[in-house]
Structure formats: structure tokens, C-alpha cells
Amino acid sequence: MTLFDGILLAFLLICAVSVSVTRNLLASVIIFMGFSLIMSVIWLTLEAPDLAITEAAVGAGVTGLLFFATLKKIHAIKAENGKPDSGAPEEDGNRDEK
């Protein structure tokens, strides 16, 4: 049980708990990307280099990006920046009808 592993695992648990606690979606996505980076470091300490590359490229990279794209798509980010919401789509401006 080296100190380094302990710190990494403790960080994982702190990330997990803090995502459930924070109200702000943007913060939770950033914390999730941090979590994913720490995971790829842990894969290295567990002697699994394949997983480190994949987790770094796929975990923080693509998944984090998809979360940001979703948040942008649902205006969460725009609302946070304090910019007035440029005309939120009116109630029934959606594509699929019944």
C-alpha cells in the first residue's frame, strides 16, 4: 500500500462524492474528466499500459467532450456565463410530433 496509490484512490472517492454533491452540471462534468485522468494514471500503476492510453483518449477525451456537447446543446453552459439566453427555443419548437 504505497502512499501514491492511496492518494490516487482517495482522489477517486472524493471525485465520486463531490459529483453527487455539487449542484452545478458544468462542475460535475469537469470533475468527471479529472476522475477519468486519475483512472488512467491508476491503470499505469496497475501495470496495464493499454488501458492507460485507451482510458485517457476515450474517458477524458471523447466522453468528456460528449458531456460538454450535451451541456452546450441544453444551454446549461450559456446560462452559466451570464450571457442573456439568446431566445430560448419556444416551448413546442421541437422536431418530433406525436
Binding site: A16, I42, A48
Partner: protein
């Protein structure tokens, strides 16, 4: 009292698996309890990462190297167990696919109901049907 001490020493010995199980519990909680869809999906990712951490920790053998045979010495006692690494590689891609699918669903739901709260969405859908 002795049992508790023994339980803790065992837990301390398997610290990777213990941390993975606590992470699994937290992920399972947020997937079950959170009403916000994005939080649910992040919870699902935590749960899956916890299972893969547990699996990879099962394959690790102290004092051995990653299974890349560079110097032609194929004595298995020098290398870590490659099976969990292969399984986790498959698992990570499964998690990405499921996350992309559920995020797409979240976008469409927000498009239609303008909320991320799954209970509110179910209520709106039920009201819409009557």
C-alpha cells in the same frame, strides 16, 4: 472485536478492491437516486469504472511487469496477468457506447420537455397521454 480487526486488516490488504467497491456503491447510488439525467449518466460511468478497477486489480501481481515481451524472455513469472487488461479494454468501449447513447437520449428529452429531471419528464409524459 478480533473479527473487526481481522476484517479491517483484510480490507487494508485488498485496498484497491475496497476502494473499487466503495466507488461502485457511490456510482450505484447516484445512478439510482439522482433525478438529473446527466448526473445519472456520470454515476453510471463511476459504477463501470469501479468494476473495471476491481477487475484490473485482480490481475495485478506485485513486482511484475506489464506483459510486453521486449527482450524475448517469455517466462510467465515475470509478467502480470493479461486477461483482466483485455477484458477491461473491451469494457471501456462498452461504457463509451452506452454513455453516448444515453447522452443522445438526454438531448432529445431536453429538446422535447425542456427539463433534465427524470421524474418531471415522466409526469409530463403521463400527463401528455391522458
Amino acid at each position: 472485536m478480533v473479527q473487526l480487526r481481522e476484517f479491517l486488516t483484510n480490507l487494508f490488504a485488498n485496498y484497491y478492491e475496497a476502494a473499487a467497491m466503495i466507488l461502485f456503491g457511490i456510482g450505484f447510488t447516484s445512478l439510482l437516486m439522482h433525478r438529473n439525467l446527466v448526473k445519472k449518466i456520470i454515476g453510471f460511468n463511476f459504477m463501470d469504472s469501479a468494476i473495471y478497477l476491481f477487475l484490473a486489480a485482480k490481475g495485478y501481481i506485485t513486482g511484475r511487469l506489464a506483459p510486453i515481451i521486449t527482450d524475448g524472455n517469455t517466462d510467465p513469472r515475470l509478467y502480470v496477468n493479461p486477461i483482466p487488461t483485455g477484458l477491461v479494454l473491451t469494457g471501456i468501449v462498452v461504457s463509451v457506447s452506452v454513455t453516448a447513447f444515453s447522452l443522445a437520449l438526454t438531448c432529445r428529452l431536453y429538446d422535447k420537455y425542456h427539463t433534465l429531471d427524470i421524474d418531471e419528464i415522466t409526469y409530463l409524459a403521463r400527463k401528455e397521454r391522458d
